[in-house]
């Protein structure tokens, strides 16, 4: 475990040195997130000027849900998305994955953390701020038990999001070049912004279990606002474990058929 922290630290340090040389890129990256926040606030204002609640959630609760979903996305985007994008588009096709396979660490983890984007963490600060704003402006009362379980669930869903993200790029082992896969999660992020009740029951079921992208944002937020449900907490623990095992299995399966440069 210690060596992973050390590698991560070195990679982050390099990323910092690299980003310092291109402040324009960092600025544009942060701006992108801020513009997205501004746009979504306008959009939510339009929605809530026509309805008082969305699937039982008020403006500030939905705003919190959005900001929380964005935090998870930003953390993952800052930490692992760059590496996984590289994996889906270049590493398998050009054989660059050789480099990761020959190191005495888990290639999946090494690939994931190989290209951090520090600006996503800066954007994450604004998103955390938006979470707090939504809670205070909405006068939402939250108990200590809610906060405790919310933190536990927030850690777990970050891991779950990571596993789902890896699952979306694993097919690159078989299909060689799949640029579109790197975008898959960013499209699915859309559904994390809204309360689960918005979606029809069948779709909700699929997005809560088969590909549990809604569960990632909705269950922790629900646990924060309403009395914690033990079944939800157990459910998140279970699906995180199950998806962790599935991801690990498929990655190893794909890795076993990897044959270096393909085109």
């Amino acid at each position: 475990m210690k060596k992973y922290f050390l590698i991560n630290w070195i990679i982050f340090k390099n990323a910092y040195i690299r980003d310092k040389k291109v402040p324009g890129a960092v600025f544009a990256g942060v701006m992108f997130h801020l513009v997205d926040i501004a746009m979504i606030i306008i959009f939510f204002n339009i929605i809530f000027s026509n309805t008082s609640s969305l699937a039982g959630w008020n403006f500030y609760q939905v705003l919190f849900l959005y900001a929380f979903a964005k935090c998870i996305v930003s953390i993952n985007s800052g930490w692992i998305k760059g590496g996984l994008n590289d994996f889906a588009t270049e590493l398998i096709r050009r054989g660059g994955f050789d480099f990761f396979m020959t190191k005495p660490v888990n290639p999946m983890i090494l690939v994931s953390m190989s290209r951090p984007r520090l600006y996503a963490f800066i954007a994450g600060i604004f998103e955390v701020g938006l979470c707090f704003y939504a809670i205070f402006a909405g006068h939402i009362n939250i108990g200590l038990a809610n906060i405790f379980w919310f933190i536990i669930l927030a850690i777990l869903v970050n891991m779950l999001y990571y596993f789902l993200q890896v699952l979306t790029v694993v097919p690159a082992f078989w299909f060689i070049k799949l640029w579109s896969l790197q975008d898959l999660m960013s499209r699915f992020n859309q559904v994390m912004r809204y309360p689960a009740g918005v979606f029809p029951p069948v779709i909700r079921f699929i997005l809560m279990s088969v590909f549990p992208i809604i569960a990632i944002s909705f269950i922790p937020a629900q646990t924060l606002f309403y009395p914690p449900k033990i079944e939800y907490i157990i459910y998140i623990i279970l699906i995180t474990l199950i998806f962790g095992m599935i991801t690990n299995f498929l990655w190893k399966l794909g890795q076993s058929r990897y044959s270096s440069a393909s085109s």
Partner: protein
């Protein structure tokens, strides 16, 4: 002209080499439509309203159906001038006996044609799944819509080329292109009908030419605009395109003098 046709054909075949990638890209992008379908259905039915600024539920869903199609015609992610200038491969086009800019345009058209072709079965699927919410346009409105959508491609292409050609002067514009295209899609009505905006904000959005990319074609499809208005819109689109083209061409010409072809 023949060489350009051959280039178009070869480019098309080249893109077809990675069909799976294209198809996944399109399937993935269908998520947007279904998210908005669920969201607006919930808003209209949940609050018991029948119209928002003259948009019924069916109008709104049709709007998203059309914009999901128009996103396939958005040239943003089918333009590579910035990339080729930045990595030096633009030299390959410059030294050949053809117009390098026209070839660049053909490549974009290639990719857009393929996207539309591959999207047709999926749009048919969307239509089948949600036909009760989708309004069918009259024949003439459909023709007007097609013409407007095509003019929209030209307009967007000329506008984005301005940012791409800035690469000659200021280096890689990738981040700026992503940021600007994101903002433009919002200003154009790619996220929701501009009619939903409060009056004051809407008046700002309507001054900008970007509404011609999503909001205007969708409204034409919905039959919300008369023939005279549409002809006037086409005139405006042509004028904006000409203006953007002149700016883009001037930046390109001055940039070419600085181009070294060495790449990064």
């Amino acid at each position: 002209m023949k060489k350009y046709l051959i280039y178009f054909k070869v480019g098309f075949l080249d893109l077809l080499a990675y069909k799976a990638d294209f198809i996944i890209y399109i399937v993935v992008n269908m998520v947007f439509f279904f998210v908005f379908l669920a969201l607006w259905k919930s808003i209209y039915t949940g609050s018991g309203i029948t119209e928002i600024n003259n948009y019924s539920l069916n109008n709104t869903i049709t709007y998203y159906f059309i914009t999901s199609f128009l996103f396939r015609l958005d040239p943003t992610f089918a333009m590579y001038l910035n990339q080729t200038v930045w990595n030096g491969s633009f030299t390959n086009d410059l030294v050949k006996p053809w117009n390098a800019l026209f070839v660049d345009f053909i490549y974009t058209l290639n990719e857009l044609s393929l996207r539309v072709l591959l999207y047709l079965p999926f749009s048919f699927f969307i239509f089948i799944v949600s036909f009760q919410y989708i309004n069918i346009p009259s024949g003439i409105n459909f023709i007007y819509f097609i013409i407007t959508a095509f003019l929209g491609i030209i307009l967007a292409y000329c506008f984005y080329q301005i940012i791409h050609t800035l690469c000659f002067h200021f280096g890689d514009q990738d981040n700026n292109i992503n940021l600007i295209s994101f903002i433009v899609a919002f200003l154009a009505g790619g996220t929701f009908p501009l009619a939903f905006l409060p009056e004051q904000i809407r008046s700002i959005f309507l001054v900008l030419p970007f509404r011609f990319l999503f909001d205007t074609p969708a409204n034409i499809f919905l039959g919300k605009l008369g023939s005279h208005e549409i002809f006037f819109i086409w005139l405006q689109m042509l004028l904006w395109s000409a203006l953007f083209f002149v700016v883009y061409y001037l930046i390109y010409k001055s940039g070419l003098k600085k181009y070294t072809g060495t790449g990064r």
